[in-house]
Symmetry: D2
Subunit: 345 residues, 4 copies
């Protein structure tokens, strides 16, 4: 019963197999290899557009490099108060951007709105030379609260960005989970809705260490490769990240894994719905649940061996809140064991 | 006949195997796992001392993070003019250190001397508030010219550093190659000689993507973990780097691989010694050769399918110079085929 | 009737005179001059303690250099949401600190509390390696809302900082205005209350371009001089800043100027108190007023030639808000003219 | 007999007078004042072209802000080994550029050549993704060795920059001294010769603290104002820098002062030419002399009260070298007193 995080999960066998298959001698280094080319062309098929794709090993690197490419050091990024880039990357975006600021907006369910963005821009303009000016917006899909922006919601943000001359970045550490929840195409959820750059996550969904920064307008990627190199994120043996991305994108593995994780989350949510002293504080739309329950129940679950994190307080919710995360290896048995405990604890 | 670089080599089977073995479910993330602990304790045995060890995926990350931990943004690092940190990391040290400078010293064979270090320090002090002050020295072992600092040479630099209050960093991307050349112990070549921090390379010598930053005085490592996180170099599934390091250090794999690479380099050097129009421009002490030869011979070798890089001009050497790099998978057949071509070309 | 800002005011004649007096030939550059020594010793007398004092030309430089000296790039500063360092310095603190973050706290009247600080620290600790950790607190005295921390309030924040191992910085761009409002000693309002570093402003209160960064514990100032130099804030002819500071601190000029500015603000506040459609949205404790009034009145005042800024919306206040700032040259006649207009507009 | 530096000199009376004249009440802050507009229009007349002009207080700020505007953090600036930006600004360019590197070229007399620039570019291109790429060249006029680039020499560097797509920056801390030596027009020495940005110094030549960053192509200045603000170099009372620049540029004061300083340097050089044990190690073309002489003579001069600096060793010169700097207040009497001592010492 481990619901601590999707990053405690293992690597999908098909991905491990692809790494082993990549193990030939004397392959060109630094990305000039066929596997890296294949990862890019496969992504291009899936997203139905020409794109620039850069493999990196971590989500923090993907986000920080993407934002640094979009935003000058004296400008700013608009994002949600609880965005991963704002709270969980130890200042990586600021470091990579050379000190540019994050302008954070309150977002009770993790989603920011075009109206908030407009207001932030207006205030910055009002501040003139003294106030940093936004140059990009970053949204998380699925959000840190396990919710998902509808395609229209993304498109409205995209439109606001175009009106204001802002680039739009999507932190897609759990992009696959959002996509299978919505049932739309990858293109509809990204560039067709105005997303310029996507941090496309694989690590939480079955890879070993593989993310891709995808620019839907390759012209926006100027300088990215140099930034990746000087950040120590250019692998000499890059084929071993690219092999992961290739296997992830072949045969629908990425969607299968995401569906399995979301299904387990839904099973958990459905099972918890009945309990009188338990409340879901957010809708469950991906593979994360935020659940309010009495302290004694939390302690009883922990004592019984369930793993999860206590989360930050939720406004208006008197009970403490825990976070449960499922992954592609979460079994029905694990879920049911947890539900049984939750029902009795 | 591929002598382009040791980073075109594959992964040692034992290391691939260790990655597959690490593939259990629900392992604690961010390094709180037994494989990471094991990599550290194994390094501690090998270096015969307590130490702090941090796995990262690239050598540039290892160097830049190590130096940023040692050096404040308004200070400087002394190193050789041709040091990898100065010429081949696209400014990563400056980026990670927040703008601190590299003060470079000419070093015809890649090795700098205590006397040069003393002179650089004296000049900086003379420059007062206007001149950046050195806070660390970085040496490369084996050097970028395929030469190796003797244990005594390192110790003399270590002594100069202590006199001047400087930290001593060793870029050990090819540490194993230097070590087996010298036949000393890892401790003798590092902390016993005054080295404070080692970038301990494995990627060029059989790993997939694995380096370790080793602080022999763990107190010097303050802040390292935060710097690693904010640089995007903290893997969520860190066990998969640690598994590589573990296998690399078990059963002498690291030394065996280095011996194989060095042996191939020596075989190449011995074979080239006879040719009248070919000159080794540096002693061959690790797994790199720098060879001067007429342009026509270089072209003939390239035409015959040999892979290598043309290098920068060498002072006093009228002929162009090529670099040949061997690795643990270089075969005698490859070497001999190259030598046969070189003899006739 | 110019209430736009105290930085549209001129230079006090005594300060201009001191600059002219400093104009001898061949004075040692970069601060090794008697006027710089005198500014420091005079501050030491006034603050009744040994201290390190560094003249700089702007308040943004003073704040950013002070914070960069206190806080490592991977850490953070706690401050109020509307702090000048957070909203009006175009990211200078982040730039100088190498990307460290500001963790902002809501503060309706500009003042943050020890309880808020404790909560921010607790949350950061809870976030572990992923969340930046506070290393300093910065408070503004007088605040951006024209309010003043009582001596006890500063002391309670100082105590919270010591409990949590945080340094305490005070942005004293309007320190003199706060001091004369409180009637305490400079020592009571700073180091005796736990303030480690003060940005001591003079420019808004009669100087040409002069601020001083004062470290009450000179050991904390390590590296400050190098940071000042590499930021381009070390004047070669430093005596001309120091002469300003000297004149500012001699004969109580700094206190006289502040008293004049505060008195004008009080006169304005008293005069506005009667008007039915006008509300002071903050207590007036220094030389700034924030006044809610109907749009038509604002427009009428502007049309009549009054200069001031429209301010950001104030929660719970339906009317728009303007800011009025007085200075040492504000005359009773100017105030009364404004009041007359406000009464009729 | 003070020849330590031109920054120990006082302020020209006309400049002090202009500051006093600027001391009116309620002048718009942050540069929106008539004096700032006048400084710009006057420079435009003098340089015979439209331009963007930004006043700052120090030469280091001018240089570092100019370079940061031209060069991205992952690129580099080509300059002379002994350039002020490389050796005497404590890393300010690297700080402001976000870690971009300086690629330094040996320059025995302070002047670099188009051929050196071409070679540096070629080497960088050869280094590919691993090597920082130059984006600008910076030359100093007059140089750190007191020599002056001829107009043609600047134009040839300008042509090399255009061929290679590099911006050309001129550090003109002593621009006036170079200009009066050459007798050309300001336009000929700058934009007509391919200079894009000039750090135009006044402080060493009679101002209190005033430099101007001048972009001859205003489009290149994008972002400059934000960089200046976030570096703490935007003065609230900017009129007091602009007043200095205005007076400096009116009535030829800047040229008169430079002529006086150069004349004193020439008188010194002529007087020293005769002495048997004294050698000028560089031609004297501006207001600096570098003089080799026996240690005993240096000591005797110091003992007699002459002020100057001992300089770094000069290759091929066995005697120690001192630097003598003249300024607009150096008198014939001072020069002659020094010469008398030098003849006898």
């Amino acid at each position: 019963m481990n619901f601590a995080s999707d990053n405690t999960a293992p690597v999908s066998p098909a991905i491990l197999h692809a790494i082993a298959q990549a193990n030939a001698s004397h392959v060109a280094s630094y990305g000039a290899d066929p596997l890296t080319a294949r990862a890019k062309s496969r992504a291009s098929e899936i997203f139905e557009t020409d794109l620039a794709l850069y493999p990196v090993a971590t989500g923090t690197a993907a986000n920080a490099l993407a934002l640094a490419t979009l935003v000058k050091p004296y400008n700013a990024v608009i994002c949600a108060e609880e965005a991963h880039i704002a709270t969980d990357e130890c200042g990586a975006p600021e470091f990579f951007m050379g000190g540019a600021k994050l302008l954070t907006l309150p977002a009770a369910d993790g989603r920011i709105t075009p109206m908030q963005i407009e207001a932030a821009v207006a205030r910055a303009i009002d501040g003139g030379i003294h106030h940093v000016q936004p140059e990009a917006v970053s949204i998380t899909q699925a959000t840190e609260w396990g919710t998902v922006y509808a395609v229209d919601a993304v498109a409205e943000i995209g439109a606001a960005c175009r009106r204001r001359g802002l680039a739009l970045h999507m932190d897609g550490a759990r992009f696959a989970n959002a996509l299978v929840h919505l049932g739309c195409t990858p293109a509809e959820l990204t560039w067709k809705a105005g997303v310029d750059v996507l941090s496309f996550g694989a690590t939480k969904n079955g890879a070993l260490a593989a993310e891709a920064v995808i620019f839907f307008n390759p012209a926006l990627a100027a300088g990215f490769e140099r930034r990746r190199k000087r950040a120590g994120h250019l692998w000499s043996k890059m084929r071993y990240i690219s092999a992961q991305l290739g296997a992830y994108l072949e045969d629908g593995l990425w969607l299968d894994n995401a569906r399995a994780a979301n299904r387990a989350a839904t099973r958990l949510a459905d099972g918890l719905a009945g309990a009188a002293d338990v409340r879901l504080v957010q809708p469950v739309q991906a593979n994360e649940l935020f659940v309010a329950m009495p302290d004694e129940k939390i302690e009883a679950l922990e004592a019984a061996g369930a793993h999860f994190y206590r989360w930050i307080d939720v406004a208006g919710e008197p009970l403490p809140v825990i976070r449960l995360v499922t992954s592609f290896v979460t079994t029905d048995a694990e879920v049911d064991a947890f539900l049984a405990l939750a029902a009795t604890a």
